[in-house]
Amino acid sequence: MASLRRIVPLLLVALGLLVLVRSIASRPIGDVTTPQHVPSRFQDNAGVNRVNQWIENRWRIEQVTPVKPAEEINILRRLSLALHGTVPSLEELRQFETDRQPDRLKRWTQRMLGDDRFPTYFAERLSRALVGTEVGPFLAFRRDRFRAWLDKQLASDRPWDQIVTELVSASGLPTGRPATNFITITMVDGDVDQEKLAGRSIRAFLGQRIDCAQCHDHPFDPRWKQPHFQGLAAFFGAARVTALGVDDAPGRIYEVTDPGAERPREIVPAVPFGSDWLPGDGNSRQRLAAWLTHRENDRFDRAIVNRIWGLLFGQPFFSPVDDLPDPGDPDTELLSVLARDFQDHGRDLKWLIHTIAASRPFGLGSQADDATIDELNRLEAQWAIFPLVRLRPEQVIGSMLQAASIKTVDRNSHLLIRTVRFFRENDFVQEYGDLGDEELAKQTGTIPQALLRMNGRLGRDLIESNAFSASAHIARVTEGDDATCLASSFLVCLGRRPLESESRFFRKWLTETRGDRRVEVVEDIFWALFNSPEFSWNH
């Protein structure tokens, strides 16, 4: 009897789950509205034209010939990976293919930026530059609140300078005023780390590394001296964290002890350039925020342009993303060109994304027939080819989850799918190897990643036949129609239809299969596609 009592609830749960799963699996593919027009704020092509002119001029000077443009459906994949962190879903791809209205890519960029998945994913990407990936101090740092806050800012089109101002100068609890987590993440033993805040602010918002000047004058870069660094750190000198959260204690000062000195000396807040931009009133952090975001502080706009370029292409226009040359440098003039337009458009991040996504370099192919290493390097250096870039772990798992489901996986997906995603994503990302803050550095794949993709539990669970899996669904509904079976498999995994040669190759496997044997074949096709370089690299 006792054992029965234990079993009955379990059975009920199992039964409930089964019903749930069946109902999800049998949901019809819904219809998401296809955008009909491009909103006026993105219609102006002047920004795109200026980017193209600059780039085309460079191509002429450097005598490189850009490669052929990519297929539009491939550009859609790039956009989806950059903005949503996954490949497009089968339903999106089919809608895109049947969309014959003009400005198709622009309208789809607009649609993706308006989708919930954009602010969520972009908040995650941006927060790496803002608060890093450390666990942070217990209770004082709330990554979840911070990300949710950033998500909201992005969703509500808050201008970038306003976001930054709040990050640098907000006061309050890390829960109630989540921007303050920018300050609390640096806490060590209850104290705010002014040096870390200065270093990170200048890197994240101005794209300059002055951290080395913390201990000595910058060894290679004569621009940055130790007093510059100390003067910037001093802006955070009054900041503290109490039970009421972050605030500024009047009279609290920033001190350093020089090597060999008996006692510390006070450092007065000071900026290394543009001191006219520093307002007289406000507390130190508010003044610093005003200086950072000042309209004449070109570094501010150049830095975010370079970072957004990096998030779209997988590689910033200038590497490393946070160590830019001074404004006026001819090789990075494009950043200034875009920076000016960005300012004129109210520092609207979506405008910036639109413009870069519509530019010629973003639409170029990634194939250069028989190019030698030198030729390829030259093409890449001039953005005359789309670079091959390794997908981030979240993009890989996001794409695997998306490919395993016919329907779009988003906030409206069933709770069960989202739960699976939540739990599995963390494990997978950890095992795959998170790149931490260095996410825009060039990387090759690793053996543990290959092993995880080939033999990992997630891959098996997603590919193998179950009520959710696209592979089983595709296999069963296409019995007798191998062409559709292959087309669907390629679309969900790689975001494109198979080539003639690929069809010939895989149709041999499928011929006359039915039932479970056919499911096995489709699972094997999915496995091959999941493990191909085309799946785990942006191209």
């Binding site: 890093g132 450390e134 060590v188 033993d189 270093g199 990170r200 890197r203 951290d211 080395c212 060894p219 290679f220 490393p320 946070d322 160590d323 990634s366 194939q367 250069a368 027939d369 028989d370 190019a371 290493i373 390829l376 670079p387 091959l388 390794r390 095992e431 190897g433 931490g436 550095a441 060039k442 990387q443 090759t444 794949g445 690793t446 053996i447 543990p448 990643q449 290959a450 092993l451 080939m454 033999n455 990992g456 098996r460 080539l499 040669s501 690929e502 190759f505 895989f506 096995e520 094997d524 096709i525 496995w527 091959a528 596609l529 493990n531 191909s532 370089p533 085309e534 690299w537 191209h539």
Partner: protein
């Protein structure tokens, strides 16, 4: 999976070789035994086993007890095989072998935070927001890469919060993570039976070839195919048996000696990996962060560490591997001389202890000392982590101050320390 070479595994191996040559990437699969791994004594290339005590072990409850003093707490000291050395009484088995190693009681650092301290004891550098330094193991893996080895050459056993990374040397030098040492090897078994696996690999080869069209150079630069090839070689390698513990390859008494814990099994696997010629191995034992109940907590930890450490040293000695294997037992910092109101000890980065020895390092040395009254913060003869690393690198024949380029073209020495004279 058993470790004998069955017909099925041979088939898979042949299949792999066929697949690889079809892809145009011939991989000279080496013989089952490689000569270097069979060498003994000074001629054998040196390996490093780091027992990473994550959380900050108390020096007073391990290798630097001060019983009867104001700071000693209830911890008692016992004699060891080395006449002038006493250690905490919770380590009776270690006391039997500790004369094979040296004790440093004067490690000093400026990092009293777990993440920062762990970074320091893994890399020898303080954290730097613009750069990820390579861990000691990654440097060794890079400097001593052995092409005859198919399994990972830098391994971390038992998880832990901060596994060693390749840093700016590249992710290929990241430690390979074994979460459940001696038991399950995650992701190393194909998910399907051989006929389907071979079909899958054929499909993969085909679509890879298609993707390479027009992208030959760029695709090869990604090393995607190379890593898949190496991963397949690893899956099929007989060298994988080094990761397995069973009664066919280890005696019941050996297995029992290490203790029935993931850490104990990790130490045994570490010894097996050294035998297989692996140069950089880390075994992590978390759980040392005793802000409350320091003494009970440390006794519990000792019940895991003592048998495993003692068995490891004894076992290396018995296999004539101790002269070519450095054993380092190190946490990210020590714990305060004072006991807090919750009967705990807090973080203490000045004057903490480690054990280091084997691999031709001197045995039986005791370096530095801490103040039994706890008043003087600085120990005598302070040793920095960088100096300790420089000593180990020097001993292993790696130029410790060799400069390598970071990705942004900044020259950076492997290690900024200087070898400790007392340890050479």
């Amino acid at each position: 999976m058993d470790n004998s070479v069955t017909a099925a595994t041979l088939d898979r191996r042949q299949l792999l070789e066929r697949t690889l040559s079809a892809v145009g990437l011939s991989l000279a699969l080496p013989g089952l035994d490689c000569l270097r791994a069979d060498l003994r004594g000074p001629r054998r290339p040196t390996s490093l086993i780091t027992l990473s005590l994550a959380g900050g072990p108390s020096q007073l409850e391990t290798w630097d007890p001060h019983p009867g003093s104001r700071i000693g707490g209830p911890t008692k000291a016992i004699k060891t095989r080395q006449p002038d050395l006493k250690i905490a009484a919770d380590y009776p088995r270690t006391a039997e072998v500790i004369h094979e190693l040296s004790v440093i009681r004067s490690l000093v650092s400026l990092e009293g935070d777990h993440a920062r301290g762990s970074y320091l004891v893994k890399t020898g550098y303080r954290p730097d927001q613009t750069l990820q330094h390579p861990s000691l193991g990654a440097i060794l893996a890079r400097e001593r890469w052995d092409t005859s080895i198919e399994i990972p050459q830098h391994v971390t056993l038992g998880g832990g919060p901060a596994p060693s990374r390749g840093g700016f040397l590249g992710a290929q030098y990241d430690a390979f993570k074994i979460f459940d040492p001696g038991r399950r090897l995650s992701n190393l078994e194909p998910r399907v039976a051989p006929p389907r696996q071979s079909r899958r690999l054929e499909g993969l080869e085909f679509v890879t070839g298609i993707f390479r069209r027009g992208r030959k150079v760029a695709t090869d630069r990604t090393q995607h195919q190379l890593t898949v090839t190496r991963a397949l070689a690893m899956m099929n390698s007989t060298q994988l048996k080094a990761f397995r513990i069973d009664l066919d390859n280890e005696s019941a008494s050996t297995i029992a000696a290490y203790g029935d814990s993931p850490f104990g099994r990790g130490c045994l696997v570490a010894r097996r990996l050294v035998q297989a010629g692996i140069r950089a191995i880390e075994v992590t034992l978390p759980g040392w962060d005793t802000h409350t109940n320091n003494f009970g907590g440390h006794q519990q930890q000792a019940r895991i560490l003592d048998p495993a450490l003692a068995a490891l040293v004894k076992d290396l000695k018995q296999h004539d591997l101790l002269d070519s294997t450095i054993v380092l037992v190190l946490g990210e910092f020590g714990r305060t001389p004072t006991v807090n109101p919750l009967d705990g000890r807090d973080h203490w980065p000045t004057g903490f202890s480690c054990l280091v020895g084997g691999g031709g390092l001197p045995a039986g040395r005791i370096l530095g000392g801490t103040d039994p009254t706890g008043r003087k913060q600085q120990p005598t003869q302070p040793v920095s982590i960088a100096d300790l690393f420089a000593t180990i690198l020097r001993r292993m024949g790696v130029e410790h101050d060799k400069e390598v380029m970071t990705p942004v073209g900044r020259p950076m020495a492997y290690c900024e320390g200087k070898p400790v004279p007392g340890l050479l």
